[in-house]
């Protein structure tokens, strides 16, 4: 299925041609016509995984829908509810047709009943709407929110319901939009798939690492001179990826966003692949890299994030609704200098308590972030309990 192989090392995600279809076809070549079996084989061989956060095997997900006798619904998820992530918006602005290519390839191969592109209401969807219109893809603007892009919450909204996750007992690949088997893929995953089908699995796997091939988009933010979105090989060294953004004095890097985990300044040599990031209980996720300056108090910063996470609970599941605000309170007190030695233990206990006890990933992700904060900034926690803050001292010294 492999056709003309591009000669550059760039993965072509960010140097698209905007909404101009002719220019897109000239740049990337025609869209191959591939049947379901061919497409599945290629995607399977490529080892492509979801780029929206979950990191699940894309081939496995497609197969779950392909197995159904009912015609499925294919959904591109561009909601990007993570405040630190901008890569989906940048991709959609620069390379909308590559995302649409992914949707069209899947819709054709799976004989889908419909293909939908879900985008945040707040985004300007005029150009993408025009581009999608004559390609049989329906663009649906939806309200945002942190959990709105969780697979079951997205399906719920497309069915006319609120942005609330559903009980995952029934998988959306079995019964999703309108009760039909539904394939939800992140928009970057769709763009990657469009490249994989065009240029072949071996092209895709020629960069990255053996157990985690290809490339990813990363959104770099925080204490850097040039925040923005870059594309890098999977398995790139964290320090090297950050270099383009010119970070200031790095205290730690939050990898994977608000549901992610911290990599301390001593760990910048880690490779951005789930196997190596597991050391820090982190994963590549949706490619968020947020730099915390070493003069900023990490506990204060984390407390703000957990406050936000608690406020973004859909409020449906008791442990999340009750546990997250209490976890946020305790962390805020610790950050503010309450010298209560019971606080770290109480926070840890709450983080274990909410884990695995909700309809979506929100309690688990929030708990992971909190546990990582206590682990990575252990010295900082101890200092706060003694009544001082190492970051405040560094600020005073500089």
């Amino acid at each position: 299925m492999s056709t003309a192989t591009p000669t550059t090392r760039t993965r072509l995600l960010l140097d698209g041609t905007g909404p101009d279809r002719e220019a897109h076809l000239a740049r990337y070549g025609p869209l191959p016509r591939s049947g379901c079996v061919d497409l599945l084989t290629t995607v399977q061989d490529s080892g492509l995984t979801g780029r929206g956060g979950g990191g699940f095997s894309t081939a496995t997900k497609i197969r779950a829908v392909a197995a159904s006798p009912r015609r499925p619904v294919v959904v591109g998820n561009g909601l990007e509810g993570e405040p630190l992530s901008a890569k989906d918006a940048v991709l959609l602005a620069r390379n909308p047709h590559l995302v649409l290519d992914g949707l069209e390839l899947l819709a054709r191969a799976l004989r889908a009943r419909s293909a939908i592109l879900a985008l945040p209401e707040a985004a300007d969807t005029t150009a993408i709407g025009v581009a999608a219109g004559d390609r049989g893809v329906e663009v649906v603007p939806l309200p945002g929110g942190f959990v709105a892009g969780q697979e079951t919450a997205l399906v719920n909204q497309l069915d006319g319901g609120p942005a609330m996750p559903r009980d995952p007992f029934t998988r959306v690949t079995d019964a999703g939009v309108g009760g039909r088997p539904t394939l939800v893929l992140n928009v970057e995953t769709l763009a990657q798939l469009a490249l994989v089908v065009r240029y072949g699995a071996s092209w895709f796997t020629s960069i990255g690492v053996d157990d985690d091939p290809g490339s990813s988009l990363f959104t770099i933010s925080g204490s850097v001179r040039h925040p923005g979105v870059v594309e890098a090989e999977r398995g790139s060294v964290l320090r090297a990826v950050l270099a383009a953004a010119e970070p200031r004095k790095i205290g730690a890097v939050l990898v994977g966003g608000y549901h992610g985990a911290w990599v301390p300044a001593s760990g910048l040599g880690v490779r951005l692949t789930d196997r190596e990031l597991a050391t820090y209980d982190a994963s590549v996720g949706a490619g968020v890299l947020h730099v915390l300056d070493d003069s900023a108090c990490p506990l204060a910063h984390a407390a703000e994030i957990v406050d936000y996470l608690a406020s973004e609970s859909a409020g449906q599941c008791g442990p999340c609704l009750n546990g997250l605000p209490r976890m946020a309170d305790d962390l805020r007190r610790l950050a503010a200098g309450a010298r209560d030695p019971a606080l770290p233990g109480a926070i840890r206990r709450l983080s274990r308590l909410v884990t695995g006890r909700g309809a979506c990933a929100h309690p688990d992700g929030s708990a992971r972030f909190v546990a990582s904060t206590l682990d990575v900034f252990r010295g900082h926690v101890a200092a706060h309990l003694e009544g001082w803050c190492p970051s405040a001292q560094r600020r005073a010294a500089s």
Binding site: F169, G318, R352, L353, R357
Partner: protein, 81 residues
């Protein structure tokens, strides 16, 4: 041969909690004390930290009772596979 199959082909029954329905009435923890406790807020906690815990044979009847007794029908038993 996997251990489960060696146990005379017994299929394990698991308990699923629909957290979007559960309001913390607590009857399940009363009827299945070996398996479920209650957290600080009155919501069920699986004692051995499994998302959908396997139900030991001797607790199956009590589990069925708990499922029937939940006022918001947040519980169900199922056999994976």
């Amino acid at each position: 041969m996997p251990l489960g199959a060696a146990e005379g082909g017994v299929v394990t029954t698991r308990l699923h909690i629909d957290w979007t329905r559960c309001d913390g009435h607590g009857s399940c923890a009363e009827l299945l004390p070996e398996l479920l406790g209650l957290d600080d807020f009155g919501f069920p906690v699986v004692r051995f930290a499994e998302r959908d815990p396997a139900i030991p044979r001797r607790d199956e009847e009590a589990a069925r009772h708990a499922v029937r007794s939940c006022p918001v029908m947040a519980l169900r038993l199922y056999e994976p596979g």
